[in-house]
Each structure stands twice: as C-alpha cells, then as structure tokens.
Symmetry: C2
Subunit: 444 residues, 2 copies
Amino acid sequence: MGKPSIPKGTRDFLPKQMARRNYIFNTAQIVFKKFGFQQIETPAIENLSTLTGKYGDEGDQLMFKILNRGDKFKKAVDHGEKESDFAELALKYDQTVPLARFVAQHQNEIVFPFKRFQIQPVWRADRPGKGRYREFYQCDIDVVGTDSLICEVEFIQVFYEVLTALKIPDFNIKINNRKVLAGIAEVIGEVDKIIDITVAIDKLDKIGIEKVNEELASRGLSQKAIDQLQPLISFEGSKQEAFSFLRTFLKSSETGMKGVEELAYIVDYCSELNIDKCLTLDLTLARGLNYYTGAIFEVSCKNFKGSICGGGRYDGLTDQFGLKGIGCAGISFGADRIYDVLEENNLFPQDDMDGLDVLFVNFGLKEEHYVMTFVQQLRSKGLSVEVFPTAAKMKKQLSYADYRNAKHVVMIGENEMNSGTIRVKNMLSGHQEDCLFDDFFQKL
Amino acid sequence: MGKPSIPKGTRDFLPKQMARRNYIFNTAQIVFKKFGFQQIETPAIENLSTLTGKYGDEGDQLMFKILNRGDKFKKAVDHGEKESDFAELALKYDQTVPLARFVAQHQNEIVFPFKRFQIQPVWRADRPGKGRYREFYQCDIDVVGTDSLICEVEFIQVFYEVLTALKIPDFNIKINNRKVLAGIAEVIGEVDKIIDITVAIDKLDKIGIEKVNEELASRGLSQKAIDQLQPLISFEGSKQEAFSFLRTFLKSSETGMKGVEELAYIVDYCSELNIDKCLTLDLTLARGLNYYTGAIFEVSCKNFKGSICGGGRYDGLTDQFGLKGIGCAGISFGADRIYDVLEENNLFPQDDMDGLDVLFVNFGLKEEHYVMTFVQQLRSKGLSVEVFPTAAKMKKQLSYADYRNAKHVVMIGENEMNSGTIRVKNMLSGHQEDCLFDDFFQKL
C-alpha cells in the first residue's frame, strides 16, 4: 500500500488551521448577522441539469460529476459516449447558481427581500496551484428580491466592517458597473463583443495595456474601436472626474448613462456614511462571470496579488429557474486568500484560540480516579480540561501539554493526595506552586 | 424547463432549520471543547482506494463515485466495464475511515493522544426515507493513540452532558463490548460466525427473539449453539448480576473475560462519577460495522425508535494505512435524529435564535438616508438591524418584519424628521410610542 494521501487540490485542516479558519468565518458571521443576513445551506450535490450551461463552457468542463450507479451505469457503459451519459448529478461549482435554484424552489416559504449568508465548500476540477484548490470554501452574502441600490451600499459597509475587524492591511474596494461596460461597447460600435471586451479588459492588471490591446484585436475588435477605448483604459483621476469623463463618453448610450448614475449614487451614499475612503472607482474592472448586470466589486489589499473578495449585481439569474424579473446581488469573501494575508502579516490573534486550560498529569489509576472530581468541577466552569489517559513518562505528558498549549499543568501524586494539596505549574511563566484545589479553582 | 429541484435524499436548510441545527452543533461543541477535543476537517472527496473495502460490500456499493475526466474518461469509455474503471475519487462515506487516513498521513504533525471532533457531511447512495438521507452531517468525537478506558468513560460523560444540555427526554446509554461477543462465539463453538451472530443479535429490538433465532439458523449456526445463546439473549437483571452471569458463561474464553472486565471497569468508573443512572448494560447490543474491537455504545431516548447516538472502540483501524497497533475509539451524534426529537418534543429554545432586533420602515430615499446613522449606531452595538430596501407599501414592510421575527419596528417619516423623534413599535406587545432615538438606543 502506498503512503496515505488525499486527492490533489484538496486539503486536511489540522486543529490550528481549523481554529484560524473559524476565526475568519466567525468574524464575518457577526457582521453578516448585524446586517440582517440569515444562514442557509444547500446540498453539495445538485442535479447536473441545474448547473450545466450556467458558467460557460469552461465551467461545464471543470465541474465534478457523480458517476451513475446500478442500471443507469450499465446502460451508460453499453451506449454512453459523453460525460452526461454517465452522470446526472454534479458537485456544486459555486453558491450563486444553487441560490437562484433555492429561491425559485422555495419562493413560497420565504419573504422578499431574502438576505442570506452561506459558508460551504464548492468544487472545481481546476489546475491546482498556490492558493488554488479543487475543494474550497465560499463565504457569501446575497440579497434576492430587490433592485434597490441600498444593497450595494450595504455590501460596501460589510466589506468595510469585516476587513477592518480582521485588520486586513490597506484594503481597497474597487467598484465598476456592467451597464457602464455595456454602454462602452455600444458607444464604440461593438455591442456583440461585450464579453470579449470585459474578458480582455479584466486582465489589465496582470498583462498590461499593450497585451490587452492585442487581445482585443485578436478577439475581432476593429482598430477604430480599440483606439476609442484608449482614453478609458488609461483614465486616471478622482471619482468625480471619472463621472464627468463617463457622462461625456457615454452620452449616446442610455444603458451606459444608467450605469454611471448608479455608480455615482453608490459612491455619494458611501461618502455620506463616511466609508468612501477605501472605495475606488476602477473603470477597467470587469470580472469574469457573465451573469453580472450592474455594480461589480473586487477587493485587494497590501502586498497581496489578486483579489481577496468580489461580487456584484446579477438581476434575473432566477429567470432560468422560472422566477422572472427578480433583483439579485451578492458578494463573496475569499477565505483561503484572507487566511494567507492574515498569516503572512501575522494578524491572527496571539492568544491561542484552541488551547487547553488545564492538563492533569496521570500518575496511575488511583491518582486518576482521585483527580476526576476536580476535573469535573473545572469543566462545569466551562474550562477546557484533560487528564492524560495513561501514567506515561512525565516527559511525554509535559510535551503533550506543550503541544496542546495548556495554560496550567496540575500534578497530584501520592504526596499531594495525602496532604490534600495540588501542585500547579503555570506553563506561561514556568512558575510552580503547591496550593489547595479550591484556591486554584477560585483563581481561574 | 421542469420545476427546480434537488437530488433525492438531499436537503436545503432554510434559515429557521439552519439556526436550529446550529443550536445542536454549538451545544455539542461547547461540551467537546471542555473535554479537550479539537476541531479538524477532511475533504469531502477521498481517493477511492482509501475508502474501498473498509465498509463491507454494501458500503462499496453505496459509495458516490466521481466520474473521471479528460483522457481518463475517454479511456474508460473505450475499455471500461466496472465502476472503478470510471472513477478514482469518491465522496466520503463516514468520518472514521478518513480520520484513520488523516492520522496515518499526519502522524508527525500531531501528538498522541489525538482528541478531535469533526462536524461535516457524508454521502451514501442509500434508499432515501424518513430520517434517512443521501447527504447528511456526522458529528463525531474520537481519541486516537491510546487504549486507556478513560476514553470510554469520557464518552459516556460527553453523551450525558450534551444530551442533558439539549434536554433530550429519558435518554439511555446502552453499552456492550465486542470482546464479550467474540467470547460468546468462542464459547458456543462458532468463532467463524462472529459477524453473523452480531448481525443477527443486533436486530433483536426490531424483529424479536424468534426471528433472531431463525436468522441465526439460516446463517448456519448449529441448533446447539443457538440453544446455548438463549440465556444470554433473554438475560434480564442488574448490571452486577449481568457481570456474574458473564463471568460464568465466558469462563473458558480469555477474550470474553477481558471484555467483561473492561465493561465492569467502565461501569464502576461511571458510578463513581455519578453518571451511571442513564447507563444500561445491553448484552445483545452488537452494532453493524465490523471495525469495532472493544466497548460499543448506542443511545436511545423516549418516544423515538432507533438510536440517536452510537460509537465504540476500534483499535487498529489505522493499521491499513501503515500506522500499526494504535488504540482508537469514538462516538457519533445523530444530528438529524436529535433534530427530530427536539422538534417533536418542542424542545428548541423558544426565543428566536435568528430574529431581527430592529427593522426600519422605508418611507422614501430622503427618510432612508436620514435613518442610516441610527442604523449604524445600533449595529455598532452588535444588534441585528435592517432598513427595508424600498419604500414599499406599509403592509408589505410589516409582513416582512413579522417573517423576520423583528423585535422592534422603527418608523421615521417626514413628521418624525421634523420633530426629531422616532416612532417605535414593540412587535411582541404591540405597544407603539414616540420617543427620542437616544432613549430607544439606551433601552435596547
């Protein structure tokens, strides 16, 4: 038998990593609840038909599909040719499409606006790499059932509060609007090429302006259209200057002008609420997924390549599940990337989040039974307490105490049993003393 | 397009169900941590080779397998015949085998005894039915790396504390020992039939003694052996009487006698700790899985068929992953069944666990912007607060407040803006009053 291992792109989370991940999720949850978001969960497995075609061709290819069983499997072996002959179920690819399915399916059990948060794993058969996994958690909030721009404003507030609570260094919330991008495609006479334009422009940070222009050309944009795009791609200036620029540039596009007004409304609202200092207007922000229809967000921070959060408005996503004309918007926190930022910047709380309060050394069965009432009393106080399970060598027991970050080690051997005292070692100071259990109990 | 749906045997959890499930998991976690258990997670997806053959033939058949992709898929289509030609990965079937794999894989990163808890979904392609799902959560604690019987005693304490905290009515922790069952097989001359005997005896509660005897015969036990089993199957008496009976019955079996002494030690320990009143010795308790080697547990409660918790000792499970001779034991809380018990007995906390503290009615954009500073102040106090996103009809906004179990509804229209007051409706009492925001803020 080979060495035990797990599939590539998946991870085990050891206790310390788990405690740190929980710290991130708990911090986020506290904020989500303050803003009225309620938690739901959807199954890991969805019907393949629910997911197919919602993420583009690449998404369909990267989906993990579940092998049919029994007669269906036999039939596929005899006659099957393509993956969908062998599978009716798939692992979910994100939380957004399942949310749209959920809302359509449960529309009579919920009341709109439906504000929910969801923290669950998703799966993508992507090429694994640094910070890229095949199984990873998404931590999302979404509002379904309204097109009010107060949603976007609240998302910015939530970004601000969660990232501030986590002490993320110099985070920057970038905002743009898909209607503005659509307007641009309209103005430069390339309406059909809106997806090509967004895909190419989205790479500006990574590949630079020249490569973007090459990609636009290779995607079939006319040289004239590319020329027209240049002032936009290279725009620099304040938010208000950007709005002036756009109002001129997009004058002839109704959609584009609507996008500008949405952006301006959100930005002004944030300045009223005093949270606009971390908000940047980024006219080249596009985001990959095609379902966005309004505001789009991405959050970056100091010394980290790529975004740590994202999101946007995606009105109408429930249409394909039979619930028409519903406003939807949401954002997502990239838990793995936030974890890396906190670790690299040493920002996890110093005090051990998963440590033991007291370890009782085990000197033998008689002593073990004797200490049990003390153990029970300390646990009933809510403390995390263990007795080492066997009378192993002291060195082994103390190295366990170290590994578990025990705050106190209590030693009760025959002498202590006779004198009715306990010996306590404070593992932080190294100080050791004999005292009565009651005094120790009171002090903790 | 058909109605949106999810695969059979899977579930969506709406906010209320989610809050209730979290109540169960949180209650359990608080106890787990007091006993020194640390949380870990393992991936949903394991290598098929890790899981195959660990759960018997039925387990292998009920495993959800992931369809190979790309070249591997093409190869399988051309030459594949059996499921394993089409899949290298599978969804995990329980948490115990992945834990054994985890411990073997990370043996140099952890220190023994390794006490961990894990709350994650598992998947089984079982026939769905009442209380039986294809995707369900397991909530487990295990100790790996010691054969000390203090583990078993602590498991009984944990059962006791969690089920007491949840107010589960009249729960009964049944205990038996696999070594006792092995000894019985030895004494009646049917060592090879130990699995047949446990499988048949395990059904006593469900099918009665006559059917059990029929099944024993059909599984090839001699009539003499079946006759010898009768005093055991029909045994009734106190724990101490049971031990006397077993010490005579199993006199000639070393393994059997070891099992009796383990049982007696655990039972005495629990009586010292004053938690033996909910502990019953059940000589016919067998449990289905073959990996158990020592104590086995099952917990039942009033007015509920079947068990709500289970577990036992399964020394040596890590052997097959290359880590030999390690003691292991664990227990599992059946979250779905506990949920049903709490719901049927109306035992969930009355006070809404997921309600809104304050809903601000939206009278229009001017009023919305005006109330935002109040909203921010209340949220900074940790309260859950929403502004209705649009100036919808009052009736709609109030019915949303009802749905969200809002404690207070605040109305600030033009009059209130002019007078600098707010109108607050207490949704519980129905009482409505005008006051200053500061007074409301202080009172909350």
